[in-house]
Amino acid sequence: MSFAGLVLDGLLALSLPVLAWRALSARDLYRAVILFITFGVILALAWARLGAPDIALAEAAIGAGITGALLLNTVGGLSRKNDKDDERPDEPTDRVGRPWRTRLAVTVPVTILAGGLAWAVLSFPAPVVDMPSLVGEAVAEGEVSHPVTAVLLDYRSYDTFLEIGVLLLAALCVWSLGLSAVRSTAPEAVSGSPVLAGFVRLLAPAMVVSGVYLLWAGTSQPGGAFQAGAVLGALGVVMVLTGLLVPSLGRGGVVRAGLALGFAVFLLVGVVSMLATGGFLAYPEGFEYGLILAIEFFLTFSIALTLTALFTTVPPREKGGGA
C-alpha cells in the first residue's frame, strides 16, 4: 500500500471514533445530527477503502442520507417546540459535569458488553460452512454474478427478509404514534421556490434511472434493492419537501398495500419454495435468478415507499394540545 493510502486510511480510522464520540456527547441535537451525518459519510469512505462498494453505497444513501434527513426533520420539529419555552441556552456546551454514579452506571455495562463482544469475536469457532467457496461456486454457476447479491439473497435470504420486515414495522410504528402530517418543513419562501421546483424536475428522471440501474446492476455489480430503494426513497423525500407528493401520499389502501408488497412477495416466494423444495426460501434449481430479481424488484418499490412514508410525518409541536 502506498504511503498516501496509509495516511488516508489512518485518518479515516482515527476520525471515526472521534466523530462517533462527538456525536454521542454533543448536547445540541442539531450538532449531534450533523456529526452523525459526517460519521456516515466517513464510514462510507472507509467501506469503499475496504473494497466493499455495496456497503459503502448503502451506508452513504441510507446511513448518512436518509437517516440524516429523518433526524434533521425530527430536530426541526423538536426545536420549533423548544423555541416557545425560552429555556434553550444560546450556546450549548458539550462539557457537562455528570455525577460519578451516572458515569459508573454507563461505564460498567458498556465495558462488560465490550469485553463480551471481544471475547465472542476471539473465540469464534471455525465456520461450519465454507462461505467464500460456496459463494464462489454459486457465482461460477452463473445464477447471480455478483458475490454480495449472491450472499444476500442466495444464502442470507433470511437476513434480507427480516430487514424488510423491520422496515415495514418501523413504518407501522411511526404511523401508530399519531404524528401530524408534514405540511412543509421548509419556510414558505423555500417550498415555493422556482429554483427548487426546477431542481426536482431536473433530478427526478435521473434519480429514477439510477435507481432502476442500481437494481439491475445489483445482479452483476455493486448495487441492489436497498441501494436502489434508497435512491428512489430520497427522490420521494425531496418531493415531500417540495410539497409535490404530500397531498397524494396519504394512508389509503393503496399506500398500505405498497408498503407491505415487498415483505408479502418475499414471504410468498418463501412459502411457495418451501412447498416445492422443503426449505423456506430454498429456491428451486434453475429459478434462482428470476426469483431473486422478482424479489429485488418488489423490495425496491416497498423500500422506496417506506422511506418516503417515514418522512411524511413530523413530531408534534407541543405536548398537551394547543398546536
Binding site: A186, P187, S193, L203
Partner: protein, 102 residues
Amino acid sequence: MIPALINAASMFFVVAGAFFFLAGTVGLLRFPDVYTRLHSLTKADNTGLGLMMVGLAIQSGSILVALKMALAWLFVLVSGATAAHLISTTALKSGLRIWRKE
C-alpha cells in the same frame, strides 16, 4: 513523452482543484456570516471538483469514464447551487443580517 505530459497535466489539475478546496475550507472557517461562507463553499465545490475531475478524466483514458465524471460534476453543480440558494434564501427570510464591514 506523451504519458509524461498526461501525468504532468493530471497533477496540475488535481493540485489546482485541491487548492480551491483548501481555499474554500479556509473561507468556510474564517468568513464572518452564512452568506460569505456559502460563497466560499460553492466556489470550492464547483471549481475545485471540476478541476479534479479534469485531472482524473485525462488519467482514465476512457471517454465513457470521462463522460460519467462530467455528469457527476454537473449534478454537483446543480445541487450545490440549489442548496446554496435555499440556505441563503431561508437565512434572509428568517432575518439573519448580512455582514457589513464596520
